[in-house]
Structure formats: C-alpha cells, structure tokens
C-alpha cells in the first residue's frame, strides 16, 4: 500500500500536475499585477493627465505589492448581522472560478494545464460560477446596498451570459471543436481568400468578436456595466462590507478574470499563441507562443480598460434592453449566417 502510494506520488502525472499548479498559482497574482499597474494605475493616469503612482519602485511599479502588504495588515471585519459562513465563503468561490478558468487556457503547442475536450464550454461554465459568489456576498453582508448590488449583479450576469455563450458558437462552427487547443490549430491551418494559412477567425467572426467583447465587459462588471458596484449610488455594492484581505480576494479575482477573458477572446478570435504563415507544430512556438499570446491579451485588455475609463455608467433598464433586444438577436443571426456559410462553402 505504502509502496503504491509513493509510486503514485512520484508518477509523471503527479509531478507534472504539481508543476502546473505551482505555475498557475504564480501566474494569477502576476496577471493582476500586470493589468493593475499597466492599465489601472498608469494608463488611466495618463488619460487623465496625471502621473499615477511614482514612489514605490521605479515608476511606481511595486505599488500593488505595497498595497497587498497593506491589505494583509488590515482588520478582517465581519459585521454582527452578517451570515458569517456564507460571508467568509463568498470571496473564495469567486476566486475559485478564476482559478478554474486557467486550467484550459493554452499558451503554446504543448503548454496547457489540461486540454479538456469540452474546453470553451467548460470555461463558460466555470466563469458563471462567480455570479454565485457575488450573490452570496451581496446576501450575506446584511447590508441594503450590498443586497441591491448583489441582485443587480445576478440580473446582469445572467443577461450577458447568453450573448457571451452564443457569440462563441460561431467560432465553434468554424473550428468544429470545443477544445481551445483545437480552436488554435483550426485557425493556424485556416485560409481564406487564398491567403493563409493561419488567418484568425476575426476575419469572418467580426460580429461575434464585438458581441463577445461587449458581453465580457459586462460579465467583468467593468464600466459602463458596473452598476453592481456603482460607487456613487451603492458605495461599492456587493463588496461594501468586506475589509482587508477578503476584499483583496475580490479585487484579485476581478483582474485575474479580466486577464482570462482577454485570453479566451484572443484564443477564439485572434489565433491564440499561433502566428499567421507559421507551422503550428513547430517546437520553438513553445517559447515564442506565450509572448505572442501575451501581446494579444494585453491588446484586448487595453480595449477593455480603455472603454472602462471612457464611458459613463448605463442605467439598469438600458443594460437589460441592450442585452435582450440587441446582443442576443444579433448573436442568433450570427449563428445562422455562420452555419449557412459553413454548409455552402
């Protein structure tokens, strides 16, 4: 029995899984670090003619680490009337949803934690887990603002879940697979108008891409879709009662998920780690691929945050109207057109 166990612990499977776990555990805080520094601190500051943080580290690059250390020292306040267990559990559920997203994201021909057959379907499923955490946080806080914020978040997340999922179907029709690696390979081998191979799906899925990005903006509750946290009316919404490190967990999950959504969009529409005119089985792509992917992710994140810092907040009824009367019919039409073209050509 003991021999069996030690055999299992040192098996290739266990060792490789442990390495993958360690890498992802490092990457998730790192993604928040990159996005928060580059976009939230610096890009926003430059857009508003400020310098942004300059003190901690060169050009304030260590600011977020300083903030994390500050949050570690803050008191963890649980309000008297709060539903204690649910209150403590909510941020963990939200962060877990982010963690599970990273399981399927490919960054190179052999660089993926686990290339599940259900790939993109799985990613959509675990990303909606965060709605549950947000609703739990809003309810358990025992605060009227938090409750309103949580209910708003639930309404918003279900409304924008649909266009998000339906926009993906166009890509799946073209790629004929749900696996994210499969979708990258489909693009790396795809040619259109005699140009190729390696054209990204955005060439034919422009509408799907636009719908996906708008819906992702709403799923991430970034402005103009940030009514669940609206600081001017709900003073923070569902995370109003959270302090110290538990608040930081929400914050980390927000940016980790933004990074994950940008990578999903870059895999689906921009070709992921592959490059046009390059053989996708080449071994050197394992080294260059992550860089290619990161460039695409940062470009898409830039769009997300650019919109965030530019537009004012929508009203709740405008938000629902936009999803149900424009995005969902457009996504359905996109599916039909893609299907017709797939069968016709």
């Amino acid at each position: 029995m003991i021999a069996d166990l030690s055999f299992w612990i040192f098996s290739d499977y266990a060792v490789s899984t442990a390495i993958k776990l360690a890498v992802v555990m490092l990457i998730i805080p790192l993604t928040s670090l990159i996005l928060v520094y580059v976009f939230l601190f610096k890009m926003m500051a430059f857009m508003q003619s400020r310098l942004g943080p300059m003190e901690a580290g060169p050009h304030g690059s260590l600011q977020l680490i300083a903030e994390a250390l500050k949050f570690l020292q803050k008191e963890d306040i649980h309000p008297d009337n709060a539903d204690k267990h649910v209150f403590a559990l909510a941020p963990i559920i939200v962060l877990m949803s982010t963690f599970l997203l990273y399981v399927v994201l490919p960054v190179g021909p052999d660089l993926v934690v686990e290339d599940l057959d259900t790939g993109i379907f799985y990613a959509m499923a675990v990303s909606s887990l965060s709605a549950l955490g947000v609703l739990m946080a809003g309810w358990a806080s025992a605060n009227k603002y938090a409750l309103l914020g949580g209910l708003r978040a639930a309404g918003q997340l279900i409304a924008y879940e649909l266009p998000l999922v339906l926009a993906v179907v166009g890509v799946v029709i073209q790629a004929e697979t749900l696996s994210l690696q499969g979708i990258v390979h489909a693009q790396a081998n795809w040619e259109i108008f005699g140009i190729g191979s390696g054209m990204p799906f955005i060439v034919t899925q422009g509408i799907g891409f636009a719908i996906f990005m708008v819906a992702a903006q709403a799923e991430l509750t970034q402005t103009p879709f940030d009514m669940p946290v609206a600081e001017t009316e709900l003073v923070g919404g569902f995370h109003i009662e959270y302090t110290g490190f538990r608040f930081l967990l929400f914050f980390m999950a927000e940016f980790g998920t933004a990074f994950a959504f940008a990578s999903i969009a870059s895999v689906l529409f921009l070709g992921g780690w592959s490059l046009p005119f390059v053989d996708p089985t080449a071994n050197w792509l394992n080294i260059v691929g992550p860089g290619v992917m990161l460039a695409k992710i940062l470009f898409l994140s830039m769009i997300i945050f650019w919109v965030r810092f530019t537009y004012p907040r929508l009203r709740e009824d405008q938000l629902q109207k936009f999803a149900w009367k424009l995005l969902i019919p457009a996504a359905l039409a996109n599916i039909v057109f893609t299907g017709v073209f797939k069968v016709a050509f």
Binding site: M96, N143, I158, E176, F245, G339
Partner: protein
C-alpha cells in the same frame, strides 16, 4: 484511471488549490492583522447613517421573467454546441433543422418583447 477522469481530476485539484491558497494567505494575515472589534465597527455601513429596520429588506426582483427566458436560452445553448461541432457532417439537413429550432426560440423572444416583459419596470 481513464484519461477523462484524470483530466477532470486536475480540475478538482485546481479547485482545492484555490481554497488552499486563500487559506494560506488568510492564515498569514491572521498573524499580522489586529482584531479589535467594537460595537460601532460591527454595524452595517450604510453611508454613515445608522441602519434602520432589517438589513434583508424586501425588494422587487424585477428580472424573474428574464430569469425564465435565460433558462430557455441557456438550454438552447446546450443543444447548439454539439450541433455546431457536427455541422459539416449534417450538411443542409442540420442547417434547416437548427434554423427551425432557432426560429421557434426567436419567436418566443419576439413574443416576450411584444408583451413588454423586456421592459425593466
């Protein structure tokens, strides 16, 4: 273990790891942070005004119709994904069939629209 079970075991491990990471960080914070609860600190923060009445107020859940519509379309998505993968093999037959399926759902959405339930009021 089959390949399938193995790959989803990794998913389960990641879920456990997320909880573990949070537990370690919160445990670390426990040694660093002060714990000085006072009565004032533990009442709900509602912009500095003392909360009146129960915190779990009854409010109108306006989007229950949206929730019903959501279930309809989410189930649709479950049917569409397997179809989308196999479309090349089904050819025209699959296309027409899914066209009818989507048309029926679009009709439902159109009906809800016409009935005015998509108004947030």
């Amino acid at each position: 273990m089959s390949e399938l079970v193995r790959s989803y075991l990794v998913v389960a491990l990641f879920g456990v790891a997320a909880v573990g990471m949070v537990a370690v960080m919160l445990g670390l914070a426990r040694f660093l942070r002060p714990t000085r609860p006072t009565r004032q600190k533990l009442i709900a923060y509602e912009s500095g005004v003392d909360p009146s009445g129960s915190e779990w107020v009854q409010s109108q859940v306006r989007y229950y119709v949206f929730a019903v519509l959501f279930v309809v379309f989410d189930v649709e998505a479950v049917f569409i994904f397997p179809w989308a993968i196999q479309l090349e093999d089904y050819g025209l037959f699959g296309l027409v069939e899914m066209g009818i399926f989507i048309a029926i759902l679009a009709l439902g959405l159109g009906y809800a629209w016409r009935k005015g339930v998509l108004r947030w009021a």
